[in-house]
Amino acid sequence: MDKSGEAYWKAVLTLIAQVLAVWFFVSFGCGILFADALNSFSIGGYPLGFWFAQQGSMYCFVIMIFVYAKLMGNLDEKFDVHED
């Protein structure tokens, strides 16, 4: 497989784009743009849109960073650019 710097950078950008898509969806999507529509559902006593804006998006952010860190670590090893 292609282990060049360019291929690595392309893989990194793809990963970043994927995580950013989730990031955008949970906060700007569920928390703001579709909040009104989601409020007709409820979760744990919260209207769902309100929950995303004041609770849910933050839980997702935390998970996202750890998932990203793990996947980036894998990419680094796969392309043999990891430290030591």
Binding site: G5, Y8, W9, V12, I16, V19, L20, W23, S27, F28, G31, I32, L33, A35, D36, N39, I43, G44, G45, Y46, P47, G49, F50, W51, A53, Q54, Q55, S57, M58, Y59, F61, V62, M64, I65, F66, Y68, A69, M72, G73, D76, V81, H82, E83
Partner: protein, 608 residues
Amino acid sequence: MTLQTMTYLVVGATFALYIGIAIWARAGSTSEFYVAGGGVHPVMNGMATGADWMSAASFISMAGLISNMGYGGGLFLMGWTGGYVLLAMLLAPYLRKFGKFTVPQFIGDRFYSKAASCVAVMCLLAASLTYIIGQMTGVGVAFSRFLGVSNSTGVFIGMGIVFMYAVFGGMKGITYTQVAQYCVLILAYTIPAIFISMTLTGNPLPQLGLGGDFVGTDMTLLGKLDQVVTDLGFPQYTTMTRISTLNMFVYTMSLMIGTAGLPHVIMRFFTVPKVKDARMSAGWALVFIAILYTTAPAVAAMARLNLHASVNSAVKKDFATDELRNAAMFATESSIRYDERPAWMKRWETTGLLKFEDKNGDGRIQYYNDKNTPAGAEAAGWKGSELKVNQDIMVLANPEIAKLPNWVIALVAAGGLAAALSTAAGLLLAISSAISHDLFKNIFMPDMSEKNELLTGKIAMACSIVVAGYLGLNPPDFAAGTVAIAFGLAASSIFPALMMGIFNKKMNKEGAMAGMLAGLGVTMLYVFAHKGIFFIKGTDFLGVFGGKPNFFLGIEPNAFGAIGALVNFFVAYVVSKITPECPEHIQHMVENVRTPRGAKAVDGTHAH
């Protein structure tokens, strides 16, 4: 023991703890484990970053603002946490690989120009100074309440203490002191929240309690709150948007990218041992920040309910029908008598941050939305809302309103001060290193002695405190609002420059500088038009733009940073296309920054 004595005792004890740890860690620094690489665990580092990051805006001010803004307040929550995702993915690992210590250094090297570094210092100063104004506002609120003085005196005392704290700077650099500060801060925030959540919903976890049922009824807490506020003429809590969906979107974006552009936060990631750690540190920092941030909306909603309940005895009662409830809410005897008001109101009246004016002369307190007077209020002869509560006092007053024990109230005081002081000190250090090192030493006076460099830094700190304190007396907004403006300035100037420096290897110095100046310029113009030139009262010039506030698509000045960032990206792109291309060796350097391997260990003993 009186509340006053208790407060002195708890605040004094926490300060003794910080100083004690500082001395212990310094003594230990000669010992082997410290010299052996200092390997601070990423979890500890995350806590320390949390303490650095969570300021008076997060601790003292934010929940009060959410309590007033309802659903719309979510923009602070999403904005100030979502930025960490950007920081972890887009900036932290690459800046770490680059191996510089400050933002102006990175900009100066990447854009091969001292002028670019100068522009970065300017942007950094604009954002950091505005940020400190917000801290001063918060410190003023805290001190005025705990010393029982006016708000202005509180700001002056705060200036003195911040100055001593920052100049005593040794405490700042030590991770374990900050870990202690984080612990004090988070306990102070969550303990009252747990108490209140237990009382109102029977659920000890505020994050779940906020969704829980209101004790003694089959209504949810949020449902009850919605009912109470709409009865009193306020917009519905769970659906009230901040001005418009577009404004809320832009505001959230501005805070997110501002987070990833603030110098004192970024600096923390320069010194982690490895690139891998830079990614993880951001994650751990966010874990510890999220503990406070997911508690804040519960504090906000519950404080709002308790505030209404403490002036209107019908609020917490359960009624069979809407008619009965409405009749009770507006019944004369439901509003409490002013001379029987709770002790916390008297205490806050001293500070001038809570005011009562008996508009209908009945000796009772009516608190409602008089811009949308409910029918019942009119019929009951209410002549306007009689209580003015500064939103910044909500968190500090919250345990008093909920009648919690004195030690909890004292602990909240200590937490608020820890939050404000640790952040103010971090920002002042960023300012002093930018001026003394990045500006004077590197550009104007390369042969300056180390002693003079240190002196310049201290003078810069003192000036910043005086300027920020003066502006903090008449702040442009509530503490969190002012801090939001600071984020906007960072978002419009520093974040795009860093992004393009890493992700666009062809970006040249002309483009980057033009972008930063345009982004910062347009944001400042919009903010100053609303809030006065350099936030000085009476110098606002909205008239030039037709006199209508939020004239650009209805976006408020606090949210304008995201628009400024767009301008920055656009101008930088256009200018870079019509000016000489970025030199070959810089492009190679950028390519090198993109891979983790070969990151040099950055030793912690840099020049300042």
